[in-house]
Amino acid sequence: MNTIEQQLWDYIDGNLDENLKKSIEEKIDSDPQIKLQYEEFLKFNLTFSNLDLEEPSMSFTRKVMEDIALVPAPVSLKTKVDTRIIYGIGGFFVLSILAILSFIAYNTKFTMPNFDFDLTFNFDTGKIITPTTINIFLFVDLIIGLVFMDYFLRKKTAQKQL
């Protein structure tokens, strides 16, 4: 839909680029019919722009303030989720999965010709799973858990206040 009427409205609203603007200006100047239509649209715009807004009753603001007095005061939601935390958690799990998969692949013996699929673990887990690694693992888990709990509790509190 790109009638002359639409073009005139676009011109009045300032939605035309320079070329189209010049073209419509030429049309307005050369064609009296288009000029008349343009003037009519301008008058329409002016009439509706000058239309007064309706006024609510005098007690409107008071009624609103009485209503909101019953509502808990709003608080700013400063709990913006830091995307780095999310990516950090995601990265940790991806790395864990990759480490497990690598560990499995490393210990898997594929013997295709005989279909000898030896999945024996010739790996001394005692060297890796030490009390220190377990403590580190549990500590990281604890931090992730606390971050999630904090996020969840803040979100819940904010929702209650709305």
């Binding site: 839909m1 409205w9 676009d10 722009s49 409107f60 609103v64 509502v71 709003p74 904010a158």
Partner: protein, 193 residues
Amino acid sequence: MEQKFTDLELIQQVLNGETGQYALLVKQHQRFVFTLALRFAKNREDAEEIAQDCFVKAYRALGTFKQTAKFSTWLYTITYTTAMTFLRKKRLETSSINEDDTLIQLENHISGFNANGYEKQNSHAFLNQAITLLAPDDATIITMFYQGEQSLEEIGEALHIEPNTVKVKLHRARQRLKEKLQYLLKDEVKELL
């Protein structure tokens, strides 16, 4: 002299615990919100109820308001949604110029108009009546564009539609509005427009 605060300053004050400042925000926007509500409700009592509901909803959600956007646009989104919900609840029929009831109502109105002529007050009443005869969406776009001085982008944001769609809808709404005015005022439309 009363200090003039911007919307964002007032919001910040309310969020900091000065809840009384919300009254200033209400005063700044109540006329437009009420006018917009009136486009849906058709009577002042219902419109006032909708407008009141909008301000309470906005107050509750004030903490979630992203202060990078315009408060008015955000408030008009709430107004539009609340008014639409109200319409659905009340099952109000959208007035159409072709409906029998409207015709009877309009003819009465027109005869009165022809007899008395019009003054500025009357012309505004007719313009408002013509807007009221539009479908709620058209009336909203016309009201937001002319009376709310919102850009196509802001209207699109408030109504959750693309600015280009707003442009097309605005064009159609203007055409329909002109038709309604011509129907209402007949030859005298030329004096008004």
